[in-house]
């Protein structure tokens, strides 16, 4: 590598510059943790209010598609980690391939998620638009589906941003923007992707596994 990394004047060396970027990203991720945290508090509050309704409603979600999707997202995180590793080692082709694989698995996840949304709509489980569930706990069931659509919806928006980021990173890698001396965008994109994965790791049991036994 002959070309030197550009170091902004406030930094002493590339390592300090990179650590500053990572620190900024972790601070942003802390705000994301709190943002989703508020949703998890709202979920818990509504669930404690009517636990039986959440048990009934959770059984109405599509466990097969939800479980497959969890596997898809965990695998996408492996691809992401390998993309960061390849970029650090200067393996350009592998880096591009892993970034595209991450984006592809993210797209598969969204495809399955939107298929689920369609099935929910067909089963009249979409609050406001078409909700027709009846029974003693109908109100609580509807609340569950408010939470379900809002939480998975916000998660999907994060995933769409992640997929676009991966495509841009792959394009930058193709343009030879990265080297073993400079890979900050891939590193930060990776941190974001993994956090979105962690949010789903918690959404999965809270939405799909409340009462299956």
């Amino acid at each position: 590598m002959t070309e030197a990394v550009v170091i902004a004047r406030q930094f002493d060396d590339p390592l300090q510059q990179r650590t500053a970027s990572d620190l900024g990203m972790w601070v942003f991720l802390a705000t994301e943790i709190l943002f989703f945290g508020a949703l998890f508090v709202a979920y818990t509050a509504t669930r404690v209010h009517d636990p039986q309704a959440f048990a009934i409603a959770s059984r109405l979600t599509n466990l097969t598609l939800g479980s497959i999707n969890t596997g898809v997202l965990l695998t996408s995180s492996l691809m992401m980690a390998l993309a960061v590793r390849s970029t650090k080692l200067g393996l350009r082709r592998a880096s591009i391939a892993f970034l595209l694989a991450t984006a592809a698995l993210g797209t598969v996840f969204l495809g399955i998620k939107f298929t689920e949304y369609y099935l929910d709509w067909r089963d009249h489980l979409v609050p406001v638009i078409d909700f027709a569930h009846t029974g003693p706990h109908a109100g609580g069931v509807e609340t569950f589906f408010y939470m379900y659509f809002f939480m998975t919806g916000v998660h999907s928006i994060h995933l769409i941003i992640g997929i676009v980021t991966m495509l841009v990173l792959a394009w930058m890698a193709k343009r030879r923007d990265f080297s073993p001396d400079y890979f900050t965008p891939v590193e930060l994109g990776g941190l974001y992707w993994h956090l979105v994965d962690i949010v789903w790791i918690f959404l999965y049991p809270l939405l799909y596994l409340v009462s299956r036994s």
Binding site: T31, I33, V41, T44, V48, L74, T75, G190, Y204, S213
Partner: protein, 93 residues
Amino acid sequence: MIAHPVPAVRTYVLVWVALIVLLLLTLGSAFIPLGWGNGAINLAIAVAKSLLVIFFFMHLRSAHYMLRIAATAGFFWLAILLGLSLTDFAVRY
């Protein structure tokens, strides 16, 4: 050129295998009637999966102490948010 200590591919693949095994465990355990135990197992497994992702995929295991502090702060505030919000519900029902 700066030499970066990167974990072996094998490490990442093993973490992924562990994540999938934990996914199957949480899915399987959901079908065994354990009362409140089901929810506890689900949450414990979710925390375990998250820690694997944070320490290995997000490299917090080998990160600069400032990054660890920032990450810990995020989860610490989350604990306050959850803890103090739920004290109300713990005593009301």
